[in-house]
Amino acid sequence: MSNSLAVQTLLDETQYLVSPPKVYMKLKAALEDPSTDFGDLAQLISTDVSIAARLLKVANSAMFNFPGQVSSIDRALSLIGTQQTVDLILATEVLKSISGIKSDIFSVEEFSKHSLGCAISARVLAQYKGEHDIEAHFVNGLLHDTGRLLLFVKYPDAQKALLETNKNESAPLRALETQQYGISHEEIGAALFRSWGLPEALVECTAYHHTPMSSEHHSFSAAIVHVADWITHAIPMGGNGENFVPALDESAWLSLGIPESSLEMIMTEINKQYNSALSLLL
């Protein structure tokens, strides 16, 4: 109980830093309303010019490789799919609010790159596995470390000390944080997303991205984020403060059934999409 109290206090004090994705919330409600048509959705998206612009940039990136220019929201919706577009909008909204954060002790840019790298990796892995809704995996990867972001902003001095210990004594940053605060960055992120009413799969992927097999209903999606995070640290793409590549969970890796011989090909595709998305999203 004291844990959930501590999480609530932390959320109350840091919520203002990352705002709930308003356009996404409206779109989600619209999707659930049977009277909503295509034009209504396009209209809603167009009300936020910066989000509409970001969506078009993503639609024109190497993530999709559509022939020709995608120049309207209508066209993006029909090419990408409505649910997938709404997922991408969640991603662009939260990424926008993250990149507005200022910090002296960690690089927001590096953190954003880590988030984007994990998002692209999760998307490529999901695509490799023949998943339909690959944009949902993109969102899961993008937001997995939001809890740590709140820790950096709320406890800059303590986090600075933990970063030093992580570097000098080689203990995983995640373990040091849990020791220091009594809660993990995974639990904090999950609590935030639950309080926003975001999809349960996202909540579980955030909660279990280091221990995916503990996820009750979404262990496959959590395993995707886990392996994506591992690849993101290994290459590396950006950084989230952790100085070492987190341990790969053997059961999680095996559960995806990806042959080791495919790893290089998957990483090559990730690298290509990441380099393209980098200039577009950040």
Partner: protein, 105 residues
């Protein structure tokens, strides 16, 4: 690699990344040695700063940045991973080949 102001860039320095215009068109590819005409064009295009790999000996420095990570540094970075896992062995092999070296900005 440094972000240098266009005014501080001199002939012979090497671009660390592709230089694109706002529409994503490639103006100067990564690893291009800057010439006098580039400097004129960069100013005309309105660039204020560029990512630069080296200042004096581009070739020598380039080969330094392209060195694959040593076994020791990989072992250190992967210390929390189970060394006998096939995926971990494969990942270290891929990274050790130097294929995924990136000029992070």
């Amino acid at each position: 690699m440094n972000q240098l102001r266009v005014n501080d860039i001199t002939v012979g320095m090497v671009c660390a990344a592709d230089i694109l215009n706002k529409n994503g068109q490639l103006l100067i590819p990564a690893n291009t040695s800057i010439e006098e005409k580039h400097l004129r064009l960069l100013k005309a295009w309105g660039f204020t700063e560029l990512p630069i790999i080296s200042s004096s000996e581009p070739a020598a420095n380039q080969s330094t940045t392209a060195t694959p990570p040593s076994t020791e540094s990989l072992e250190c970075r992967f210390r929390h991973n189970t060394p006998s896992l096939l995926a971990v062995i494969e990942m270290k092999k891929i990274l050790g080949s130097g294929k995924f070296l990136r000029g992070e900005m």
